[in-house]
């Protein structure tokens, strides 16, 4: 009997099948309903139509929200990745209170979602700054994304062999050259993966956006407003569009990290 024999029983496989069904049936339902030619959201299935996709995209509101979300995601992912990179490099040196860095970086993750949401509302409100996409939502997103970027990047940087840098410097390379010619090519896959993950985390974020966005819309906010307003028949189509976008981007990130983690460092 192989040791894994204890694991891979038939029962476990049946269970896994049920579990995957639990994960995917709701998604399947959403996709089916997005093509349902029925004036109300739900079953029975009254025929195939793509008109809900047309309606979801009509009016340009979704498009505006999409553009907002993408720009926000790009900027907050870039800033957070750079900050995480700096923090990871900083952690390779010794300095006082170093032990505090890790817990502090984790604060935004540890904070309950609802509290993070109202936190910035209060902060910006009391500071007298304007609410809105760039003044309030952007800092909120960078703060939220930063720990994830750090947790993805830090393991890659911390196991990086310092002798390569030392060799480059011994050969007379200037710090900038060491970074761009030696460090950067090696950490590039990890950097891209971090950027993509950070982007999806920002793109999907809702509660940390809701309270400080005022009248502007990101995609999750737009969807939320529609859901709360009334259960419209084009909502499934909208959900499918959003899911497809996030999954495509995160999927690319996943493939990249798989590649970096399997390749030798």
């Amino acid at each position: 009997m192989r040791p894994e024999g204890a694991y891979s029983s038939l029962l476990l496989r049946v269970y896994a099948a049920l579990f995957y069904a639990f994960l995917y049936v709701p998604i399947l339902v959403l996709i089916i309903l997005s093509f349902n030619n029925s004036p109300a959201m739900g079953f029975p299935f009254l025929g195939f139509t793509t008109k809900w996709y047309g309606q979801a995209l009509a009016g340009g509101e979704l498009l505006t929200a999409l553009v907002n979300s993408i720009m926000l995601g790009v900027v907050s992912a870039s800033v957070a990745t750079v900050l995480a990179l700096l923090a990871s490099f900083g952690l390779r040196h010794r300095f006082p209170l170093k032990g505090l860095v890790f817990p502090v970086i984790l604060i935004p993750i540890v904070m309950p979602g609802i509290v993070s949401g109202v936190l910035l509302l209060v902060y910006i409100g009391l500071a007298g700054l304007p609410y809105g996409l760039w003044s309030a939502v952007l800092p909120a997103h960078i703060t939220w994304v930063l720990p994830f970027a750090f947790l993805t990047l830090h393991p890659q940087i911390s196991r990086f062999d310092t002798s390569l840098e030392e060799a480059a410097m011994d050969l007379g390379a200037r710090p900038a050259a060491v970074f761009w010619r030696v460090l950067f090519p090696i950490i590039r896959p990890a950097l891209i993966a971090t950027l993509l993950f950070s982007f999806t985390i920002s793109f999907d974020e809702f509660i940390r956006t809701l309270f400080v966005i005022s009248a502007e819309r990101t995609v999750p906010i737009y969807l939320w407003v529609l859901i709360i307003d009334r259960v419209a028949p084009f909502l499934p189509a909208m959900g499918v569009v959003l899911m497809a976008i996030s999954m495509a981007i995160a999927g690319a990130g996943f493939v990249l990290t798989q590649r970096t983690s399997t390749s030798p460092n």
Partner: protein, 272 residues
Amino acid sequence: MLWLLVFAILPVLFLVCLSLWTATIFGIEQTWTLANYQTIVSDAVYASILLKTLRISAIATLLSLALSYPLAMFLVSLKGRTRSLFLLLIFLPFWSSYVVRSFMWLPVLGKTGLVNQILLALGITNAPVEWLLFNEGAVYVGLVYVYTLFMVLPIFLSLDRIDPSVIEAALDLGGKPYQIFARVVWPLSLPGVWSGCVMVFLISVGAYVTPQLLGGTSGTMIGNVIAGQFLNTNNWPLGAALSIALIVMVAVLFAIVGRRLGLKQLFLGARA
């Protein structure tokens, strides 16, 4: 670091200040008082909703653990490409917003939803049942669905780290499968279990979207009450005090679990 100081630590201090002020019809009055905390403790509504949130989160965490552990065992039993594929299939749904993932349950559990459709077709009921949605049960379904990845992943990682020869040795010594599980596999997977439980509990405690969409009035959690104080009632100081109460409860939990395991392990094992 400075960034976090400005956007993560300072706001908390602001929140503490705010929780000590009073809300009047004219706005917020900056007089120092503990009245908001007294309200939370003495007003049964707030105290009970805090306890209820802890209860819902704890149950959702245990449900998630019970559902995820066997799946993690299944994933560990796989090899190579099949393993990557099934892992990817676990990740995939979690790459969409939790707003979408909570919303998806409306057309499944709703009056015209999938479950009712099946019940009607099978003749189990002759009218759509309505108790599937807008209650605590629906919140459990939603929370478990939305956050299982955070449970499956750390458990999978810790199971994967178990040296097969350890299990082999146990088998050679005549251990029965359930004995091996209880004495060898389960104890060795505990770091992952703790990490997963902490993550799921933490996210559940701060949930707003899932209870708002699926919970109805009986499934309300503290997140909805806090949001209400800021969005509807406009009693910011009370909302702030409720937030602080929540943070303190979470911090106490962390102090207990973190002492046993260490923060680093808890989070580097649990990164998404």
